[in-house]
Amino acid sequence: MARITLTVDGTEYTDDVEPRTLLVHHLREALGLTGTNVGCDTSNCGACTVHVDGQSVKSCTMLAVQADGREVLTIQGLADTWEGDGLHPLQQAFNECHALQCGYCTPGMIMASLDLLNENPDPTAEEVRHGLEGNLCRCTGYQNIVAAVRSAAVAIREGAGEPAPAREGVPA
């Protein structure tokens, strides 16, 4: 067992973990943060994407002990990073643009999108598609996800909580 301390979504947690424990299993099983999902066992699907020290990480590719002393942001803490009581613009835009159906890939897709927008605040549709190539969605065909990310980009740039109308407003 190894003792680790993580700050997850603003709260500090100290636990003894088996060295083999993956970060995603630690989040889900030890901390009860089940907002982050597991979709595969080969780090292809991206459903488990979180941020570690501000960068997106597939939390199935990192051991919990590797996250010791670091800050983790999950989908469950995302809204708190945005001013006001409401949702983060990405969460709003995914709803507005119908960028999710079953919603299982959504936490990872949103966290990966956040990383993409941190690096490129005004991506083209093509850039969004390539930026999200590590995240699989089986329901949407991605078109509305691309629209949502671009719509959220506008909202984030403008610093507003409400995304611009995306479906007609943003060229695909």
């Binding site: 088996e18 889900r28 943060l33 089940t34 907002g35 982050t36 999902n37 597991v38 979709g39 595969c40 066992d41 080969t42 292809n44 699907c45 459903a47 999950t74 989908i75 469950q76 995302l78 809204a79 949702l87 969460q91 995914f94 709803n95 507005e96 119908h98 999710l100 159906q101 079953c102 919603g103 299982y104 890939c105 959504t106 936490p107 949103i110 549709a125 969004v128 598609r129 390539h130 999200l132 190539e133 590590g134 995240n135 699989l136 969605c137 089986r138 329901c139 949407t140 065909g141 991605y142 078109q143 509305n144 996800i145 691309v146 479906r167 695909a172």
Partner: protein
């Protein structure tokens, strides 16, 4: 009648796209996937699975596992033999169908790589997995049965007691004498198409949690399932446990696509272990386990022959299928190709049709429903051979289709396969698609590229499709020997405060039932969208239901809801008339308010009526104080959405790489409740159909090992792999209460042939007549090389 889509109506009512009710918890991670649930004391399962495709099971030594810490027990197939002899198959498609036993844990023999041979129960998942790895199974290997045609020689028989690998032979001759028709036809084109196996791949793997209440003998099963109701009934049948003691809950379910339309061995084992140990029991699969053991889709060899006159008039069609069942018949395995039987003639008029299908056992993962289930396979074959016939006749493939399809004034139309299409307007959808696609412009460009010998060639693919969905009229299902009906139940309950509960027997996993059904209830009752709550997916909350598959939730469940809501309005009208001291006939009902005709100031809202009924101080004497409506709707026909999909593909002739340049989908799904959700369903359907054409395919080696065992080896398309779609609609109302048609499978059914037709069209002039799916760059390149070499010989 076909018209342009109507402008959105009132917010939240039919025809509008209010924000989905499902999303708030999904975008914030406040979800209830089955794997998120675990009461204190939950035990975890890990299955020991066969690494061999076909072998006799010798001894199973679990002593090391039993001695490991945290392990509560190890069970084999024999341990549950008395409690569950076989998993169910609900669709015996012929009276003499071979139906071998399919125990939840294999006994005596394993018949596919992944077949479970033992299950370990432990305090935590890691301990269970660790212990499972120590179980030593002595296998006596037998030859694998991989190839369908070879399987039929019965050299190696998978189910020895049955003596054959042939599961069934189904035959359906209809219309005029087929052989005579073909004998006198000017032109006959024959082709063999291969439908590769696919992995449905919902992003949420399966998970099961069974919570026993041992003293009362009650069991609650949470499962990532599409079919909580069917599952409850089937579990009861195969385990003998009383149905009323089983509660099945489908909590948040992360996609299904037919793969969670199943009664799995893992679900049965979870129940039986929970029963035996009196503790909650849970199993969550890994993705590698999903690929190995969640049922696969497709898997057919299609021999198809079409007869026509020299002028291009279709005369007849012959179809002979070999359908890969895999190792066992699961819930609707044999029925999948039979659903296709009705769809090969598609939208075309012809006089003679013969369909035959042989179901074949192979030592591979069982197949069963995957988005479209039989209809994508059929649509692929007919739309591919229409293009081949057009080449043979030297006709434009679109013209050939126009010449033969059912014209809009001919509906309702009885097809040669015996279905009656209630509605459709293929001309309107095609005209719109052609316009959006710039068909003539692209044909010109194609000709120019051919003329100048461009290394990048352009192909145009057409798919003018229809499908039968909205399963289904119960009587028709009965004629097809399906084990259940096709009705759906709904209850509408007005609460005292005027809020509304809708209970549906359909069970969502991404389709947006809460949103769409709220819209129907909102329009019917005149109650705001936000005041409606849709309850589903729990046999305790929604005791009656037939669940979600076959694009049925709206066309069957939505109409059940419409009828239940109508009953509530009828009851409310009687109370309102009583309260207003007016005749019911004099009451108008609009936007949730009853008013006396001619005296609009005299009225009462349905919410006020709900409160009055709750108080029950003053209501008609011949009524009960109740504002609940319940309806069970059993449709009289299937639903027949249709559309025209046009695809332009650029093929780099030097690398073989196909790239979709333009994809236009014009779908006619009748009246639309929520345009945004409809468009989303089309997008997702297109993605899966295109994936079959270009990317996905299950691979087994000669020994029956699954080569595509992970998402590294099986290419589920990501965002850069798919194009931007252009979608539009025409609206030809269906002949039902809401005018609606199913939409869930249409995109998948239509798109695969559109893409492959485009690829073949791009390189047809180089001598290529077909490319096997998935049309990878290597396959396209080889097809070009082979054609060129053939030409040189």
């Amino acid at each position: 009648m076909t018209m342009a889509p109507e402008a959105p109506t009132t917010h939240g009512g039919i025809g509008s796209s209010p924000r989905r009710k499902e999303d708030a918890h999904l975008v914030t991670g406040q979800t209830a996937w089955t794997d998120n649930l675990a009461p204190v004391g939950t035990l975890h399962l890990a299955f020991v699975r066969s690494p061999m495709a076909h072998a006799r099971i010798g001894s199973i030594d679990a002593s090391a596992a039993e001695d490991m810490p945290n392990v509560l027990g190890v069970f084999t197939g024999d341990d549950f033999a008395d409690e569950c002899a076989t998993l169910p198959c609900a669709w015996p498609v012929t009276p003499d169908m071979v139906q071998p036993l399919h125990p939840p844990i294999a006994r005596h023999k394993v018949r596919f790589a992944g077949d479970p041979v033992a299950v370990v129960v432990a305090r935590d998942r890691a301990s269970a997995v660790d212990a499972a790895e120590t179980v030593v199974v002595d296998y006596d290997p037998l030859p694998a049965v991989v190839d369908l045609e070879r399987a039929l020689t019965d050299e190696v028989v998978l189910h020895e007691d049955e003596g054959t690998n042939k599961a069934f032979f189904f035959s359906m001759p209809t219309g005029a004498d087929v052989d005579e028709t073909f004998a006198k036809a000017d032109v006959v084109v024959k082709r063999r198409f291969l439908q590769q196996r696919l992995l449905p791949t919902p992003i949420e793997p399966r998970a099961v949690l069974c919570i026993p209440q041992a003293a009362a003998g009650d069991f609650t099963l949470y499962s990532s399932t599409q079919i909580p109701h069917v599952l409850r009934t089937m579990l009861s049948i195969v385990t003998g446990m009383p149905e009323h003691k089983l509660r099945v809950v489908a909590p948040d379910v992360g996609g299904g696509f037919g793969a969670k339309l199943q009664v799995t061995g893992e679900e049965v084992v979870a129940v039986l272990v929970a029963k035996r140990l009196g503790r909650p029991v849970k199993w969550t699969e890994t993705r590698s386990e999903t690929n190995l053991t969640m049922h696969h889709g497709r898997g057919q060899i299609q021999d198809i022959e079409i007869a026509a006159t020299r002028e291009g008039k279709l005369l007849g069609l012959k179809v002979d299928l070999l359908a890969d069942m895999g190792a066992y018949l699961m819930l609707v395995t044999p029925g999948v190709p039979i659903l296709g039987a009705f769809m090969f003639p598609a939208i075309y008029k012809m006089d003679a049709y013969r369909f035959q299908c042989t179901g074949v056992f192979t030592s591979k993962t069982p197949t069963d429903a995957y988005r479209g289930a039989g209809r994508p396979e059929a649509t692929f074959a007919i739309e591919r051979i229409m293009d081949e016939l057009a080449v043979e006749l030297d006709m434009d493939p679109l013209e050939l289709r126009r010449m033969n399809w059912i014209r809009h004034e001919e509906f309702p139309f009885e097809t040669v396969a015996g279905l009656t299409y209630d509605s459709g307007n293929y001309e309107a959808a095609t005209d719109r698609a052609v316009e959006l696609f710039d068909y003539d412009g692209l044909r010109r460009e194609q000709e120019e590229r051919r003329q100048r010998g461009d290394t990048v060639q352009l192909g145009i693919g057409i798919s003018t499709f229809t499908e039968m969905c909205g399963l289904a009229p119960s009587r028709v299902l009965g004629q097809l020997d399906y084990g259940a009906g096709g009705w759906e139940a709904a209850t509408v309950r007005m609460l005292p405060s005027g809020k509304v509960q809708v209970v549906t027997g359909s069970s969502p996993h991404g389709q947006g039932h809460e949103t769409t059904l709220s819209q129907i209830a909102s329009s019917a009752l005149g109650v705001p969208y936000e005041d409606i709550e849709v309850l589903h997916g729990d046999t305790q909350v929604a005791p009656m239901g037939m669940d979600t598959y076959g694009s049925r939730s709206l066309v069957v469940g939505g109409i059940a809801l419409q009828r239940a809501a109508t009953k509530v309005v009828d009851k409310a009208r009687r109370v309102a008339a009583h309260l207003l001291e007016a005749s019911e006939d004099d009451l108008e009902f609009e936007s949730g308010r009853f008013s006396v005709r001619g005296t609009p100031s005299s009225g009462t809202t349905i919410q006020e009526v709900a409160l009055a009924v709750f108080a029950a101080h003053d209501y008609p004497e011949d009524m009960e104080p109740d504002l609940t409506g319940h309806a069970v709707y059993d449709p009289t026909n299937f639903s027949y959405p249709h559309g025209t999909h046009l695809c332009a593909v650029e093929v780099d002739t030097e690398t073989g790489r196909p790239t979709i340049r333009t994809y236009v989908a014009v779908d006619d799904v009748g009246k639309v409740i929520n345009p945004q959700i409809v468009e989303g369903q089309v997008h997702g359907g297109l993605a899966q159909g295109i994936a079959q054409a270009l990317y996905e395919g299950v691979v087994y080696d000669d020994d029956g090992n699954l080569v595509t065992g992970t998402l590294v080896d099986y290419l589920v398309p990501a965002a850069p792999d798919l194009p931007e779609f252009t979608t539009d609609r025409t609206e030809t109302p269906a002949d039902n209460d809401l005018g609606v048609k199913g939409v869930g499978e249409a995109g998948t059914i239509a798109s695969t042939p559109a893409v492959v037709n485009a690829i073949v069209d791009a390189v047809r002039h180089l001598g290529v007549a077909d490319v096997e799916m998935p049309c990878t760059p290597e396959r396209v390149w080889r097809a070009i090389q082979d054609a060129q070499e053939g030409a040189q010989r």
